[in-house]
Symmetry: C2
Subunit: 201 residues, 2 copies
DNA sequence: TGCCTGAATAAATTCTTTATTGTTCACAAA
DNA sequence: TTTGTGAACAATAAAGAATTTATTCAGGCA
Protein backbone atom coordinates (compact mmCIF):
# COMPACT_ATOMS: atom_id res chain seq x y z
CA UNK A 1 0.00 0.00 0.00
CA UNK A 2 1.24 3.49 -0.81
CA UNK A 3 0.73 5.24 2.50
CA UNK A 4 0.29 9.01 2.39
CA UNK A 5 2.88 10.74 4.51
CA UNK A 6 2.29 12.81 7.60
CA UNK A 7 2.54 16.12 5.78
CA UNK A 8 0.09 18.76 6.90
CA UNK A 9 -1.39 18.50 3.41
CA UNK A 10 -2.28 14.87 3.91
CA UNK A 11 -3.72 15.69 7.30
CA UNK A 12 -5.79 18.41 5.68
CA UNK A 13 -7.22 15.95 3.20
CA UNK A 14 -7.98 13.43 5.94
CA UNK A 15 -9.79 16.19 7.79
CA UNK A 16 -11.89 17.06 4.74
CA UNK A 17 -12.75 13.42 4.24
CA UNK A 18 -13.85 13.09 7.85
CA UNK A 19 -16.06 16.18 7.59
CA UNK A 20 -17.79 14.80 4.52
CA UNK A 21 -18.09 11.38 6.10
CA UNK A 22 -19.56 12.75 9.31
CA UNK A 23 -22.40 14.35 7.38
CA UNK A 24 -23.06 11.17 5.40
CA UNK A 25 -22.92 8.83 8.41
CA UNK A 26 -25.16 11.15 10.38
CA UNK A 27 -27.80 11.33 7.67
CA UNK A 28 -27.70 7.91 6.06
CA UNK A 29 -25.76 5.73 8.50
CA UNK A 30 -22.52 3.79 8.16
CA UNK A 31 -23.87 0.94 6.07
CA UNK A 32 -25.65 2.95 3.40
CA UNK A 33 -22.86 5.40 2.82
CA UNK A 34 -20.63 4.33 -0.05
CA UNK A 35 -16.99 5.04 -0.60
CA UNK A 36 -17.95 6.51 -3.97
CA UNK A 37 -20.26 9.02 -2.30
CA UNK A 38 -17.63 10.10 0.21
CA UNK A 39 -15.12 10.44 -2.60
CA UNK A 40 -17.51 12.54 -4.68
CA UNK A 41 -18.12 14.88 -1.73
CA UNK A 42 -14.36 15.42 -1.62
CA UNK A 43 -13.97 15.79 -5.40
CA UNK A 44 -11.81 12.74 -5.75
CA UNK A 45 -12.04 9.15 -6.88
CA UNK A 46 -12.93 6.32 -4.52
CA UNK A 47 -9.53 4.77 -5.20
CA UNK A 48 -7.82 7.90 -3.96
CA UNK A 49 -9.46 7.56 -0.54
CA UNK A 50 -7.27 4.54 0.02
CA UNK A 51 -4.18 6.73 -0.08
CA UNK A 52 -5.42 8.37 3.13
CA UNK A 53 -7.30 5.61 4.91
CA UNK A 54 -6.70 1.88 5.20
CA UNK A 55 -10.32 1.08 4.38
CA UNK A 56 -13.91 2.15 5.10
CA UNK A 57 -13.75 0.82 8.64
CA UNK A 58 -10.68 2.98 9.31
CA UNK A 59 -12.66 6.06 8.27
CA UNK A 60 -15.35 5.09 10.75
CA UNK A 61 -12.75 4.48 13.43
CA UNK A 62 -11.11 7.87 12.82
CA UNK A 63 -14.49 9.55 13.03
CA UNK A 64 -15.29 7.75 16.27
CA UNK A 65 -11.93 8.75 17.75
CA UNK A 66 -12.57 12.36 16.77
CA UNK A 67 -15.99 12.28 18.40
CA UNK A 68 -14.76 10.62 21.57
CA UNK A 69 -11.89 13.11 21.75
CA UNK A 70 -14.46 15.93 21.65
CA UNK A 71 -16.39 14.21 24.42
CA UNK A 72 -13.24 13.89 26.51
CA UNK A 73 -12.49 17.56 25.86
CA UNK A 74 -15.86 18.52 27.32
CA UNK A 75 -15.22 16.33 30.34
CA UNK A 76 -11.85 18.03 30.86
CA UNK A 77 -13.61 21.38 30.61
CA UNK A 78 -15.76 20.35 33.55
CA UNK A 79 -12.70 19.33 35.49
CA UNK A 80 -10.86 22.63 35.05
CA UNK A 81 -13.94 24.83 35.39
CA UNK A 82 -13.24 27.12 38.35
CA UNK A 83 -15.47 27.82 41.30
CA UNK A 84 -17.17 24.44 41.63
CA UNK A 85 -17.37 22.27 44.72
CA UNK A 86 -16.46 18.62 44.17
CA UNK A 87 -20.14 17.76 44.44
CA UNK A 88 -21.07 20.28 41.78
CA UNK A 89 -18.21 19.10 39.60
CA UNK A 90 -19.31 15.48 39.93
CA UNK A 91 -22.84 16.40 38.94
CA UNK A 92 -21.62 18.51 36.02
CA UNK A 93 -19.40 15.66 34.91
CA UNK A 94 -22.18 13.10 34.77
CA UNK A 95 -24.51 15.64 33.19
CA UNK A 96 -21.93 16.28 30.48
CA UNK A 97 -21.79 12.54 29.82
CA UNK A 98 -25.56 12.36 29.57
CA UNK A 99 -25.92 15.49 27.45
CA UNK A 100 -23.28 14.41 24.98
CA UNK A 101 -24.87 11.01 24.40
CA UNK A 102 -28.35 12.46 24.22
CA UNK A 103 -27.45 15.20 21.73
CA UNK A 104 -25.40 12.85 19.62
CA UNK A 105 -28.33 10.49 19.10
CA UNK A 106 -31.21 12.92 19.16
CA UNK A 107 -30.60 14.60 15.83
CA UNK A 108 -28.57 11.76 14.33
CA UNK A 109 -30.17 8.42 15.23
CA UNK A 110 -28.39 6.64 12.38
CA UNK A 111 -25.03 7.30 14.05
CA UNK A 112 -25.93 4.20 16.05
CA UNK A 113 -24.73 2.08 13.13
CA UNK A 114 -21.24 3.51 13.52
CA UNK A 115 -21.31 2.88 17.26
CA UNK A 116 -22.43 -0.68 16.67
CA UNK A 117 -19.63 -1.30 14.17
CA UNK A 118 -16.97 0.22 16.45
CA UNK A 119 -18.22 -1.74 19.47
CA UNK A 120 -17.99 -4.94 17.46
CA UNK A 121 -14.83 -4.40 15.43
CA UNK A 122 -12.81 -1.89 17.45
CA UNK A 123 -13.52 -2.63 21.10
CA UNK A 124 -10.09 -1.19 21.85
CA UNK A 125 -11.30 2.32 21.00
CA UNK A 126 -14.28 2.02 23.33
CA UNK A 127 -12.10 0.49 26.04
CA UNK A 128 -9.58 3.30 25.88
CA UNK A 129 -12.29 5.92 26.07
CA UNK A 130 -13.87 4.23 29.08
CA UNK A 131 -10.47 4.20 30.72
CA UNK A 132 -9.97 7.92 30.11
CA UNK A 133 -13.43 8.69 31.42
CA UNK A 134 -12.92 6.65 34.54
CA UNK A 135 -9.57 8.28 35.15
CA UNK A 136 -11.01 11.80 34.77
CA UNK A 137 -13.87 11.04 37.11
CA UNK A 138 -11.40 9.61 39.61
CA UNK A 139 -9.64 12.98 39.75
CA UNK A 140 -12.96 14.64 40.61
CA UNK A 141 -13.45 12.21 43.48
CA UNK A 142 -9.87 12.73 44.64
CA UNK A 143 -10.48 16.48 44.63
CA UNK A 144 -13.51 15.82 46.81
CA UNK A 145 -11.34 13.86 49.20
CA UNK A 146 -8.83 16.71 49.33
CA UNK A 147 -11.49 19.32 49.97
CA UNK A 148 -13.05 17.22 52.71
CA UNK A 149 -16.35 16.81 50.88
CA UNK A 150 -15.95 13.15 50.03
CA UNK A 151 -14.59 10.17 51.87
CA UNK A 152 -13.51 7.77 49.15
CA UNK A 153 -10.96 5.04 49.77
CA UNK A 154 -10.18 4.16 46.17
CA UNK A 155 -11.13 7.00 43.79
CA UNK A 156 -10.49 4.85 40.75
CA UNK A 157 -12.76 2.04 41.94
CA UNK A 158 -15.45 4.46 43.04
CA UNK A 159 -15.29 6.21 39.69
CA UNK A 160 -16.02 2.87 38.04
CA UNK A 161 -18.95 2.35 40.38
CA UNK A 162 -20.39 5.78 39.66
CA UNK A 163 -20.07 5.17 35.93
CA UNK A 164 -21.86 1.84 36.25
CA UNK A 165 -24.63 3.45 38.30
CA UNK A 166 -25.13 6.10 35.63
CA UNK A 167 -24.76 3.75 32.68
CA UNK A 168 -28.39 4.20 31.79
CA UNK A 169 -27.72 7.89 31.05
CA UNK A 170 -24.76 7.27 28.75
CA UNK A 171 -25.55 4.14 26.77
CA UNK A 172 -27.55 4.74 23.59
CA UNK A 173 -29.38 1.45 24.13
CA UNK A 174 -31.45 3.07 26.91
CA UNK A 175 -32.32 6.36 25.24
CA UNK A 176 -35.80 5.19 24.31
CA UNK A 177 -36.60 3.59 27.68
CA UNK A 178 -37.55 6.90 29.24
CA UNK A 179 -38.63 10.36 28.13
CA UNK A 180 -36.36 13.33 28.54
CA UNK A 181 -38.41 14.45 31.55
CA UNK A 182 -38.12 11.05 33.20
CA UNK A 183 -34.38 11.10 32.59
CA UNK A 184 -34.13 14.48 34.26
CA UNK A 185 -36.05 13.21 37.28
CA UNK A 186 -33.98 10.01 37.48
CA UNK A 187 -30.79 11.99 37.05
CA UNK A 188 -31.63 14.26 39.95
CA UNK A 189 -32.44 11.36 42.24
CA UNK A 190 -29.42 9.37 41.16
CA UNK A 191 -26.99 12.19 41.81
CA UNK A 192 -28.54 12.69 45.22
CA UNK A 193 -28.04 9.04 46.08
CA UNK A 194 -24.47 8.94 44.76
CA UNK A 195 -23.39 12.13 46.50
CA UNK A 196 -24.86 10.91 49.77
CA UNK A 197 -22.96 7.68 49.26
CA UNK A 198 -19.64 9.43 48.73
CA UNK A 199 -19.96 12.22 51.30
CA UNK A 200 -17.76 12.47 54.31
CA UNK A 201 -19.76 12.31 57.50
CA UNK B 1 -62.15 -19.12 17.62
CA UNK B 2 -63.31 -22.00 19.79
CA UNK B 3 -61.83 -21.00 23.14
CA UNK B 4 -61.02 -23.83 25.51
CA UNK B 5 -62.75 -23.34 28.84
CA UNK B 6 -61.08 -22.85 32.18
CA UNK B 7 -61.46 -26.45 33.25
CA UNK B 8 -58.54 -27.88 35.14
CA UNK B 9 -58.08 -30.20 32.19
CA UNK B 10 -57.47 -27.31 29.80
CA UNK B 11 -55.10 -25.77 32.32
CA UNK B 12 -53.24 -29.04 32.52
CA UNK B 13 -52.81 -29.10 28.75
CA UNK B 14 -51.62 -25.49 28.72
CA UNK B 15 -49.10 -26.43 31.38
CA UNK B 16 -47.79 -29.37 29.35
CA UNK B 17 -47.49 -27.16 26.29
CA UNK B 18 -45.52 -24.58 28.22
CA UNK B 19 -43.15 -27.21 29.57
CA UNK B 20 -42.44 -28.50 26.08
CA UNK B 21 -42.11 -24.98 24.75
CA UNK B 22 -39.70 -23.93 27.48
CA UNK B 23 -37.34 -26.72 26.49
CA UNK B 24 -37.56 -25.84 22.81
CA UNK B 25 -37.16 -22.08 23.28
CA UNK B 26 -34.24 -22.66 25.63
CA UNK B 27 -32.39 -24.91 23.22
CA UNK B 28 -33.29 -23.53 19.79
CA UNK B 29 -34.75 -20.07 20.48
CA UNK B 30 -38.15 -18.56 19.81
CA UNK B 31 -37.72 -18.06 16.08
CA UNK B 32 -36.48 -21.53 15.16
CA UNK B 33 -39.06 -23.41 17.17
CA UNK B 34 -42.07 -24.34 15.06
CA UNK B 35 -45.63 -24.87 16.15
CA UNK B 36 -45.44 -28.35 14.61
CA UNK B 37 -42.50 -29.25 16.84
CA UNK B 38 -44.21 -28.04 19.99
CA UNK B 39 -47.33 -29.95 18.98
CA UNK B 40 -45.37 -33.13 18.36
CA UNK B 41 -43.75 -32.87 21.80
CA UNK B 42 -47.27 -32.78 23.23
CA UNK B 43 -48.61 -35.59 21.03
CA UNK B 44 -51.11 -33.39 19.30
CA UNK B 45 -51.59 -31.59 16.00
CA UNK B 46 -50.42 -28.06 15.44
CA UNK B 47 -54.02 -27.03 14.83
CA UNK B 48 -54.98 -28.24 18.28
CA UNK B 49 -52.52 -25.84 19.92
CA UNK B 50 -54.80 -23.05 18.80
CA UNK B 51 -57.56 -24.34 21.05
CA UNK B 52 -55.36 -23.47 24.03
CA UNK B 53 -53.38 -20.47 22.85
CA UNK B 54 -54.28 -17.53 20.64
CA UNK B 55 -51.10 -17.90 18.59
CA UNK B 56 -47.38 -18.55 18.88
CA UNK B 57 -46.74 -15.16 20.41
CA UNK B 58 -49.27 -15.94 23.14
CA UNK B 59 -47.32 -19.08 24.03
CA UNK B 60 -44.20 -16.97 24.33
CA UNK B 61 -46.06 -14.42 26.44
CA UNK B 62 -47.43 -17.11 28.77
CA UNK B 63 -43.95 -18.55 29.16
CA UNK B 64 -42.53 -15.10 29.93
CA UNK B 65 -45.26 -14.46 32.51
CA UNK B 66 -44.52 -17.80 34.15
CA UNK B 67 -40.81 -17.01 34.30
CA UNK B 68 -41.34 -13.50 35.65
CA UNK B 69 -43.76 -14.88 38.24
CA UNK B 70 -41.04 -17.24 39.41
CA UNK B 71 -38.62 -14.33 39.59
CA UNK B 72 -41.12 -12.33 41.64
CA UNK B 73 -41.61 -15.33 43.91
CA UNK B 74 -37.90 -15.38 44.65
CA UNK B 75 -37.94 -11.67 45.39
CA UNK B 76 -40.84 -12.18 47.79
CA UNK B 77 -38.84 -14.95 49.45
CA UNK B 78 -36.12 -12.44 50.17
CA UNK B 79 -38.66 -10.04 51.61
CA UNK B 80 -40.16 -12.51 54.06
CA UNK B 81 -36.87 -14.17 54.96
CA UNK B 82 -36.53 -13.74 58.71
CA UNK B 83 -33.51 -12.45 60.59
CA UNK B 84 -32.16 -9.98 58.08
CA UNK B 85 -31.40 -6.33 58.63
CA UNK B 86 -32.81 -3.98 56.00
CA UNK B 87 -29.32 -3.57 54.60
CA UNK B 88 -28.85 -7.31 54.28
CA UNK B 89 -32.30 -7.64 52.77
CA UNK B 90 -31.57 -4.94 50.22
CA UNK B 91 -28.36 -6.66 49.24
CA UNK B 92 -30.05 -10.05 49.02
CA UNK B 93 -32.80 -8.51 46.91
CA UNK B 94 -30.46 -7.06 44.31
CA UNK B 95 -28.38 -10.22 44.36
CA UNK B 96 -31.50 -12.26 43.65
CA UNK B 97 -32.21 -10.01 40.67
CA UNK B 98 -28.69 -10.45 39.38
CA UNK B 99 -28.56 -14.19 39.98
CA UNK B 100 -31.87 -14.82 38.28
CA UNK B 101 -30.88 -12.93 35.14
CA UNK B 102 -27.44 -14.48 35.08
CA UNK B 103 -28.64 -18.06 35.51
CA UNK B 104 -31.42 -17.58 33.00
CA UNK B 105 -29.01 -16.56 30.27
CA UNK B 106 -25.97 -18.56 31.19
CA UNK B 107 -27.23 -22.01 30.22
CA UNK B 108 -29.87 -20.75 27.80
CA UNK B 109 -28.48 -17.89 25.73
CA UNK B 110 -31.13 -18.36 23.05
CA UNK B 111 -33.82 -17.34 25.52
CA UNK B 112 -32.79 -13.82 24.55
CA UNK B 113 -34.93 -14.16 21.43
CA UNK B 114 -38.00 -14.55 23.60
CA UNK B 115 -37.04 -11.54 25.69
CA UNK B 116 -36.51 -9.50 22.56
CA UNK B 117 -39.91 -10.47 21.19
CA UNK B 118 -41.69 -9.73 24.47
CA UNK B 119 -39.92 -6.37 24.86
CA UNK B 120 -41.00 -5.40 21.38
CA UNK B 121 -44.51 -6.84 21.19
CA UNK B 122 -45.65 -7.05 24.80
CA UNK B 123 -44.09 -4.11 26.60
CA UNK B 124 -47.04 -4.28 29.00
CA UNK B 125 -45.70 -7.53 30.49
CA UNK B 126 -42.28 -6.03 31.10
CA UNK B 127 -43.83 -2.86 32.47
CA UNK B 128 -45.98 -4.71 34.97
CA UNK B 129 -43.03 -6.77 36.16
CA UNK B 130 -40.91 -3.66 36.62
CA UNK B 131 -43.72 -2.13 38.61
CA UNK B 132 -43.97 -5.19 40.88
CA UNK B 133 -40.20 -5.24 41.37
CA UNK B 134 -40.09 -1.56 42.24
CA UNK B 135 -42.96 -1.97 44.66
CA UNK B 136 -41.30 -4.91 46.43
CA UNK B 137 -38.01 -3.07 46.74
CA UNK B 138 -39.87 -0.06 48.10
CA UNK B 139 -41.14 -2.20 50.99
CA UNK B 140 -37.56 -3.17 51.82
CA UNK B 141 -36.59 0.48 51.95
CA UNK B 142 -39.65 1.30 54.07
CA UNK B 143 -38.64 -1.48 56.47
CA UNK B 144 -35.25 0.17 56.68
CA UNK B 145 -36.90 3.46 57.54
CA UNK B 146 -38.94 1.77 60.25
CA UNK B 147 -35.93 0.04 61.76
CA UNK B 148 -33.95 3.26 61.75
CA UNK B 149 -31.31 1.94 59.35
CA UNK B 150 -32.34 4.04 56.36
CA UNK B 151 -33.49 7.59 55.93
CA UNK B 152 -35.50 7.57 52.73
CA UNK B 153 -38.08 10.25 51.98
CA UNK B 154 -39.89 8.50 49.15
CA UNK B 155 -39.29 4.71 49.22
CA UNK B 156 -40.97 4.26 45.87
CA UNK B 157 -38.79 6.84 44.13
CA UNK B 158 -35.64 5.56 45.82
CA UNK B 159 -36.52 2.03 44.78
CA UNK B 160 -36.61 3.22 41.20
CA UNK B 161 -33.23 4.89 41.64
CA UNK B 162 -31.67 1.75 43.10
CA UNK B 163 -33.05 -0.32 40.25
CA UNK B 164 -31.61 2.10 37.71
CA UNK B 165 -28.24 2.06 39.45
CA UNK B 166 -28.18 -1.75 39.31
CA UNK B 167 -29.58 -2.02 35.81
CA UNK B 168 -26.29 -3.36 34.54
CA UNK B 169 -26.72 -6.45 36.73
CA UNK B 170 -30.24 -7.24 35.55
CA UNK B 171 -30.36 -6.44 31.85
CA UNK B 172 -29.22 -9.26 29.56
CA UNK B 173 -27.68 -6.72 27.20
CA UNK B 174 -24.79 -6.21 29.63
CA UNK B 175 -24.04 -9.81 30.54
CA UNK B 176 -21.08 -9.98 28.16
CA UNK B 177 -19.60 -6.62 29.13
CA UNK B 178 -17.91 -8.06 32.21
CA UNK B 179 -16.80 -11.42 33.51
CA UNK B 180 -18.52 -13.04 36.44
CA UNK B 181 -15.65 -12.00 38.70
CA UNK B 182 -15.85 -8.39 37.56
CA UNK B 183 -19.58 -8.43 38.19
CA UNK B 184 -19.01 -9.70 41.71
CA UNK B 185 -16.52 -6.92 42.36
CA UNK B 186 -18.79 -4.26 40.86
CA UNK B 187 -21.74 -5.63 42.79
CA UNK B 188 -19.91 -5.38 46.08
CA UNK B 189 -18.84 -1.81 45.44
CA UNK B 190 -22.25 -0.78 44.14
CA UNK B 191 -24.08 -2.11 47.18
CA UNK B 192 -21.63 -0.30 49.42
CA UNK B 193 -22.29 2.97 47.63
CA UNK B 194 -26.05 2.53 47.63
CA UNK B 195 -26.27 1.54 51.28
CA UNK B 196 -24.12 4.51 52.26
CA UNK B 197 -26.43 6.69 50.23
CA UNK B 198 -29.57 5.43 51.95
CA UNK B 199 -28.25 5.15 55.50
CA UNK B 200 -29.53 7.27 58.32
CA UNK B 201 -26.79 9.38 59.81
C1' DT C 1 -72.43 -32.41 20.68
C1' DG C 2 -67.53 -31.77 22.04
C1' DC C 3 -62.60 -32.74 20.64
C1' DC C 4 -59.36 -33.12 17.34
C1' DT C 5 -57.11 -33.50 12.71
C1' DG C 6 -55.42 -33.00 7.78
C1' DA C 7 -55.50 -30.15 4.13
C1' DA C 8 -55.68 -25.20 2.40
C1' DT C 9 -53.83 -20.57 2.49
C1' DA C 10 -51.23 -16.64 3.50
C1' DA C 11 -47.23 -14.93 5.75
C1' DA C 12 -42.57 -15.47 6.76
C1' DT C 13 -38.09 -17.61 5.91
C1' DT C 14 -34.49 -19.53 3.33
C1' DC C 15 -32.12 -20.18 -0.82
C1' DT C 16 -30.42 -18.49 -5.42
C1' DT C 17 -29.38 -15.21 -8.57
C1' DT C 18 -28.28 -10.53 -9.76
C1' DA C 19 -26.60 -5.92 -8.80
C1' DT C 20 -23.79 -2.84 -5.83
C1' DT C 21 -20.00 -1.79 -3.31
C1' DG C 22 -15.26 -2.19 -1.33
C1' DT C 23 -10.70 -2.79 -2.59
C1' DT C 24 -6.60 -3.39 -5.53
C1' DC C 25 -3.57 -2.34 -9.19
C1' DA C 26 -1.47 -1.05 -13.55
C1' DC C 27 -0.85 3.02 -15.49
C1' DA C 28 -1.57 8.23 -16.76
C1' DA C 29 -0.93 13.29 -15.72
C1' DA C 30 1.61 16.81 -13.17
C1' DT D 1 8.63 11.27 -8.21
C1' DT D 2 3.99 12.61 -6.56
C1' DT D 3 -0.81 12.49 -7.16
C1' DG D 4 -4.25 10.62 -9.00
C1' DT D 5 -7.60 7.62 -12.01
C1' DG D 6 -10.45 3.97 -14.45
C1' DA D 7 -10.90 -0.75 -14.92
C1' DA D 8 -10.79 -5.38 -12.74
C1' DC D 9 -11.90 -8.44 -8.94
C1' DA D 10 -13.90 -10.05 -4.56
C1' DA D 11 -17.12 -9.40 -1.08
C1' DT D 12 -21.46 -7.79 0.30
C1' DA D 13 -26.12 -6.62 -0.22
C1' DA D 14 -30.57 -6.44 -2.83
C1' DA D 15 -34.11 -8.74 -5.39
C1' DG D 16 -36.61 -12.57 -6.70
C1' DA D 17 -37.92 -17.61 -6.60
C1' DA D 18 -38.68 -21.58 -3.84
C1' DT D 19 -39.61 -23.49 0.56
C1' DT D 20 -41.20 -23.54 5.23
C1' DT D 21 -44.22 -22.12 8.75
C1' DA D 22 -48.29 -20.00 11.15
C1' DT D 23 -52.95 -19.99 11.09
C1' DT D 24 -57.68 -21.21 9.64
C1' DC D 25 -61.42 -24.27 8.74
C1' DA D 26 -64.38 -27.92 6.95
C1' DG D 27 -65.13 -32.09 8.37
C1' DG D 28 -64.02 -36.89 11.01
C1' DC D 29 -64.45 -39.51 15.19
C1' DA D 30 -65.60 -40.34 19.98
Amino acid sequence: MIKAGHSSLAEEVRERVLIATRARFGQYGYNKTTMAEIAKDCDMSAANLYRFFEDKQAIGAALACQTLAEKERRLRDVIVQPGLSATQRLEAFVRALFRFTYEQFHDKPRIGELVEMISRERADIIGQHKEVTRSLLATVLAQGNASGEFDVRDPSASAETVIVATTIFCVPYFLHWYTREQFEQLFKQMMELIVRGLEKR
